[in-house]
């Protein structure tokens, strides 16, 4: 089996994603962890591009790297003691954490290789660009058409409004009532 260019790109992007994710969960310095988190999000956006989901990759860049990472960095800067690097980053149950994560991964890997062995679905489904429903137009129509996702879409807008109001109310200082 020869390795194609696409596979090489996939392996590089996955390695970037996973190594930065490893830094996120192990680095003592939270600021470094937040920067690695941005790299990990960028890697996931790369995977979306490999999967022909260009719009989702753009949303990933805007929402995760542009908004959520900045929010996390703000929170790290506003709580200064987070930046100190002498204490252990882990609590007393980190051994159980390793055990649980390993068991979960073994379970998932067995499931994946039993259900979708590497020789089935060896490549993405071959469809002509006209039937591939990944464009912004398709997605926009799906999100607001009555027989598809208009109800989850409206619920998501209510959720965002509630989160907006809730975040302001919770983070407001007590004495400024």
């Amino acid at each position: 089996m020869t390795i194609t260019i696409q596979q090489v790109v996939f392996i590089i992007i996955s390695a970037i994603t996973l190594i930065s994710a490893w830094i996120v969960v192990t680095d003592r310095n939270l600021f470094h962890a937040a920067i690695a988190l941005m790299a990990s999000f960028a890697g996931v956006a790369g995977l979306y591009i490999l999967l022909d989901a260009g719009f989702l990759a753009a949303s990933q860049l805007l929402v995760y790297i542009g908004a959520i990472s900045i929010l996390i960095i703000f929170a790290i800067m506003m709580t200064r003691r987070l930046m100190q690097t002498t204490e252990s980053p882990y609590n007393s149950q980190w051994r159980w954490g390793i055990l649980g994560a390993l068991l979960a991964f073994i379970l998932l890997a067995v499931l994946i290789f039993q259900t979708w062995p590497a020789d089935t679905f060896a490549g993405p489904a071959i469809v002509s660009p006209a039937t591939l429903r990944g464009s912004v137009t398709d997605l926009g129509e799906a999100l607001v058409s009555v027989d598809q996702f208009v109800l989850p879409f409206e619920v998501a807008s209510v959720l965002l409004l509630a989160a907006l109001v809730g975040a302001i109310v919770i983070a407001r200082p007590e004495d400024s009532q």
Partner: protein, 102 residues
């Protein structure tokens, strides 16, 4: 050609790294970052299954966008909670937030 299982394994690894972070990190912000990693892993799965099994429908992409929305809302409220707790207790270490225990 990339087999479907490659994407699933990468997503599983990312999910388990996030799981380890959620269980083991002391800092509340670090726990929140690990939750974001887990949500990203779920999204990779959604998009991979969409592309390999149902590319003629927009279902997978639409749900991935809903997950993105929920992740944004969760991050906003979670960080507001952390800032509020830091103001009151002067600490964001999850172990020290034990008022409900006593």
């Amino acid at each position: 050609m990339i087999p479907l299982s490659w994407y699933l394994i990468v997503a599983a690894l990312l999910f388990c790294l996030g799981l380890f972070g959620v269980i083991s990190r002391r800092n509340a912000v670090a726990i929140l970052m690990s939750v974001e990693l887990m949500l990203n892993a779920v999204n990779i799965n959604l998009v991979a299954f969409w592309r390999y099994l149902a590319p003629e429908e927009s279902t997978g992409l639409a749900w991935a966008i809903f997950v993105l929305t929920v992740a944004a809302a969760e991050a906003a409220v979670g960080l507001a909670l952390i800032i509020s707790i830091y103001r009151q207790r002067d600490s964001v270490v999850a172990e020290e937030l034990d008022t409900l225990k006593y």
